[in-house]
């Protein structure tokens, strides 16, 4: 049920004083909630650091843990227990949100395992949108941006350029196709990474970082064009 970390120091339950593993959410003896120990998103689900995840098992575990940890279950409990329930449930929700989404999961794990390498990909850059333009797309993206701008202008003037619209639609389909291709590539690397061979892991990790960058860039393009074609 709960992951046992091998070198964890046993601590005494605050309620029944029976010693238990440090990373336990609930005392195995008296079932009382324990102070949070700040595990990562995988550990709260008792999962290894793996990219291929059984999503329906994840959902089931999410529901099972929610039933026990949610603040709704601690209305009559002590202030400490209430606080721990809140912290644990926030962690559980954050973890579930991250792990059930393939991209967020990949980014998170790379950050967790890859140190600096992953951090530049998944960290602060995310919101600055400084994803690099993939070299082979440079020219195409340039044209596409011109067309987008043109479309915005003509929209502002209240005109509708059907030819331009069609061309943008084609570009959108192409970019969407590329996003799908990136996703397929990513999944292939997941399997390599999950196999756990240290030598194979490193290149897989680098490839995934590059793919995530590319994907972020492509999805921004898709988002922009969807926005302008949408209304």
């Amino acid at each position: 049920m709960l992951k046992v970390i091998e070198n964890a120091v046993p601590v005494a339950c605050w309620s029944c004083s029976v010693a238990h593993n440090e990373s336990t959410l609930f005392c195995p003896d008296c079932s009382k909630i324990q102070p949070p120990t700040g595990g990562d998103f995988f550990s709260i689900f008792g999962l290894e650091h793996r990219l291929n995840i059984d999503l329906s098992a994840l959902e089931q575990e999410f529901h099972r843990l929610s039933r026990r940890l949610h603040p709704d279950r601690f209305t009559r409990a002590s202030e400490n227990e209430k606080e721990w329930s809140l912290a644990d449930t926030a962690l559980l929700n954050d973890a579930y949100r991250t792990l059930r989404d393939p991209l967020r999961r990949t980014e998170y794990l790379l950050k967790l395992e890859g140190g600096e390498l992953g951090a530049t990909a998944a960290g602060d850059k995310d919101r600055e949108n400084i994803a690099r333009v993939p070299a082979d797309l440079l020219e195409e993206v340039f044209d596409f941006n011109m067309q987008l701008e043109e479309m915005r202008m003509s929209k502002k003037m209240g005109q509708e350029d059907l030819e331009l619209k069609e061309s943008l639609r084609l570009a959108m389909d192409k970019f969407k196709g590329m996003v799908d291709a990136v996703d397929r590539d990513l999944r292939a690397h997941w399997t390599v990474w999950d196999a756990g061979d240290a030598v194979a892991r490193h290149p897989a990790q680098r490839a995934m970082v590059a793919l995530l960058d590319q994907r972020r860039y492509l999805s921004n393009l898709v988002r922009d064009v969807t926005e302008i074609l949408g209304d």
């Binding site: 529901h63 929610s66 209305t75 009559r76 809140l86 912290a87 449930t89 926030a90 962690l91 949100r97």
Partner: protein, 649 residues
């Protein structure tokens, strides 16, 4: 403690137009009626006239307050929910169509206060009066104190609006165990007796707000997938449309400008609401109003005209519905059930629109309207109260997982917003961010937290400014301050910070952009408690005096009864003394003394009551039919007052 554990947790729907209180009676939620027997307490608060003797005027809530709307509109406030958690400018705009106004000396940045007669109240205080009325209704019903409640809020309420609602609860003497989103509460009420699995959409168009929530039901877990809405859209807007038309037409056709007569506007508003309600079942409705100049304004509104009139209002619900489906990654066909909530969903055009939005009739489905749309939210609140109390088998397996309706962000250099918690994240949710300094030795870092979906900080709603203080002096960029943002299960933000290099917990000074400080709320609690005591003792006094009047009137009639002559002179003197005593004590505000005098007079007249009864019975025996005698007995044998019942042996 043991006492508190047994106490009932009530569920409260604090609505724009009406408010309700409900609880779990065994395994089903039940609405608690007020003294007048009505389940709905109109969300109207009135200030009674200043008492002739001086002192503070009392505050009334509900139907009696609604009656004051037409007579003393400047002393009545309604739809206060639309003002909750809003800033001065927003309130100013909002109030254009309302008869009440802001207090004069309010400055930007302050919590707005509404002028009501000679007093002024913040919106949470007004809501607190409504909550206190519901609390009293529940206490009367249970005959015990009620101190814990679940209160519902529109799903699309932001942090400030939620906080304001919680503050109101505290002022009313209620511990708010949870704020529950209204559409989610409705889903709980509907999900109770049908252990269903599937995806449901709750379309909630109330008096002042619109919400759409999409939930997945599985094994008793109600998991909200997405939510959207407009906290500024509801039946009020429809009323205002009808009202504006009537006011314009009256001005154009009869040359009467009613806008300067608040009482007349309220009378017209009432007529507009009645017309709107009739149009849900009838093909046309009529306005027929007598104007101050003696003219009559008569107007027939066919339903077709009404529907094209409100079309733009209803159309505004479509965008949020589509966005919610997009956010949940669902097409209309993937929504298994649609539940309609809120009084405005009685309008046939609203039902048609919901049908179109979710492709219902195309799939041979109908929206759910089985539960009373005015009560379903309160019933759901009671279910959630049951879940929290943990004492009902029915709710034992149920768990509600709700989401935050708006993204949380921090202002970055250049005025853009960095999102740290996305909208529709399951709550509680958290995010951890790291900040540093830009100048050597810098001791403070300011963080501006916002809520909303727009790119620029100026377009989002400012939640609070945090000042991280006491950063140890270090070279620029060296401190590493970890700030943890946590949205709790009520959807309210909490922030904590720590400087990681020194390990020092950074001191945070929170300046909420809107809303009351803890201290202000505390003061308002005391205030409203003082008033509560005052109001309560006034009520007791009035009741005691009424009782005294009743017994005095009965004693005054006594000498006309033949039985009076059977009393000894001594007895007659004793009764007269007790009567005089009560007549005198009645004038004082001493409730206990009045009650004692009533009891004394009751005792003194007991023998007389018995004689009167005997006389009636013996007259019945003297050759009258039992029926006649019965009538006569019933009439004559009334005890001097209600509390000295005549006894037949």
């Amino acid at each position: 403690m043991a006492e508190a554990e047994r106490a009932v947790v009530v569920g409260i729907d604090l609505g724009t137009t009406n408010s309700l209180v409900a609880y779990m009676e065994g395994d089903r939620p039940v609405v608690i009626p007020g003294v007048d027997g009505s389940n709905l307490v109109p969300s109207v608060v009135a200030l009674d006239p200043v008492p002739a003797a001086g002192g503070r005027p009392t505050v009334t809530v509900g139907n009696s307050a609604r009656k004051a709307l037409i007579e003393t509109p400047e002393r009545v406030i309604y739809s206060v929910k639309r003002l909750m958690g809003r800033d001065v400018e927003e309130v100013r705009t909002e109030l254009k169509l309302f008869p009440f106004r802001l207090a004069d000396d309010i400055e930007a940045g302050e919590v707005p206060r509404i002028q009501l007669g000679e007093m002024r109240f913040t919106p949470p205080e007004i809501s607190a009066y409504i909550l206190r009325q519901l609390k009293r209704n529940a206490e009367r019903f249970f005959g015990a104190q009620v101190t814990q409640a679940v209160i519902t809020v529109p799903a699309y309420f932001n942090d400030a609006q939620r906080q304001a609602t919680k503050d109101a609860g505290r002022m009313a003497g209620l511990e708010v165990l949870r704020l529950v989103n209204e559409p989610t509460a409705a889903a709980l009420a509907y999900g109770l007796d049908r252990a269903k699995e599937g995806t449901i959409a709750v379309y909630d168009l109330g008096g002042g707000t619109f919400d759409i929530s999409i939930l997945k039901l599985r094994d008793g877990i109600f998991e909200v997938q997405s939510t959207n809405g407009d906290t500024h859209l509801g039946g009020d807007d429809i009323d205002n449309l009808l009202l504006a038309i009537a006011l314009d037409e009256i001005h154009a056709e009869h040359g009467v400008e009613l806008r300067t007569h608040p009482g007349a506007v309220q009378a017209l508003r009432k007529a507009a609401i009645d017309a709107k309600i009739r149009l849900s079942t009838e093909p046309a409705a009529r306005f027929d109003i007598e104007l101050p100049n003696g003219d009559r304004y008569q107007r027939e509104i066919p339903r077709t005209v009404f529907e094209s009139l409100i079309e733009p209002v209803l159309a505004r619900t479509a965008g949020p519905c589509k966005q919610a489906m997009a956010d949940a990654g669902l097409a209309p066909e993937q929504i298994d059930e649609v539940v309609l909530v809120g009084g405005s969903t009685r309008i046939p055009a609203v039902r048609t629109l919901a049908d179109e939005l979710f492709h219902l009739s195309a799939r041979g489905k109908k929206p759910h309207t089985e539960l009373n749309p005015d009560e379903v939210v309160a019933l759901g609140a009671a279910v959630q109260a049951g879940i929290l109390a943990g004492e009902s088998k029915t709710t034992d397996d149920m768990l509600l997982l709700d989401v935050t309706p708006l993204s949380l962000g921090i202002e970055q250099l250049g005025g853009t917003v960095a999102r740290i918690i996305q909208r529709n994240s399951t709550i509680p949710a958290s995010a951890t961010e790291h900040f540093t300094t830009g100048v050597d030795g810098q001791a403070n870092v300011a963080i501006h937290v916002l809520q909303g979906e727009r790119e620029l900080a100026a377009d989002c709603r400012s939640l609070a400014r945090f000042d991280l203080k006491g950063i140890p002096p270090m070279a620029a960029g060296l401190p590493r301050i970890e700030v943890r943002f946590l949205i709790d299960a009520d959807g309210i933000l909490h922030v904590s910070a720590r400087e990681q290099r020194s390990g020092k917990a950074a001191e945070i000074e929170v300046k909420p952009t809107y809303g009351l400080t803890d201290e202000q709320v505390e003061n308002m609690i005391l205030d409203s408690f003082d008033h509560a005591e005052e109001d309560f003792s006034k009520r007791l006094l009035i009741e005691a005096r009424n009782e005294a009047d009743a017994i005095l009137a009965a004693v005054g009639r006594a000498p006309q009864n033949s039985a009076w002559n059977d009393l000894s002179a001594e007895e007659q003197t004793r009764i007269a003394a007790a009567r005089d005593r009560l007549t005198m004590v009645k004038q004082t505000p001493n409730v206990a003394a009045i009650s004692q005098a009533i009891v004394a007079l009751d005792k003194a007249t007991r023998h007389f009551a018995e004689l009167m009864m005997d006389a009636a019975v013996s007259s019945a025996i003297r050759g009258k039919t039992m029926n006649e005698a019965g009538e006569e007995v019933n009439e004559a044998v009334t005890a001097p007052h209600d509390f000295a019942p005549a006894e037949f042996k």
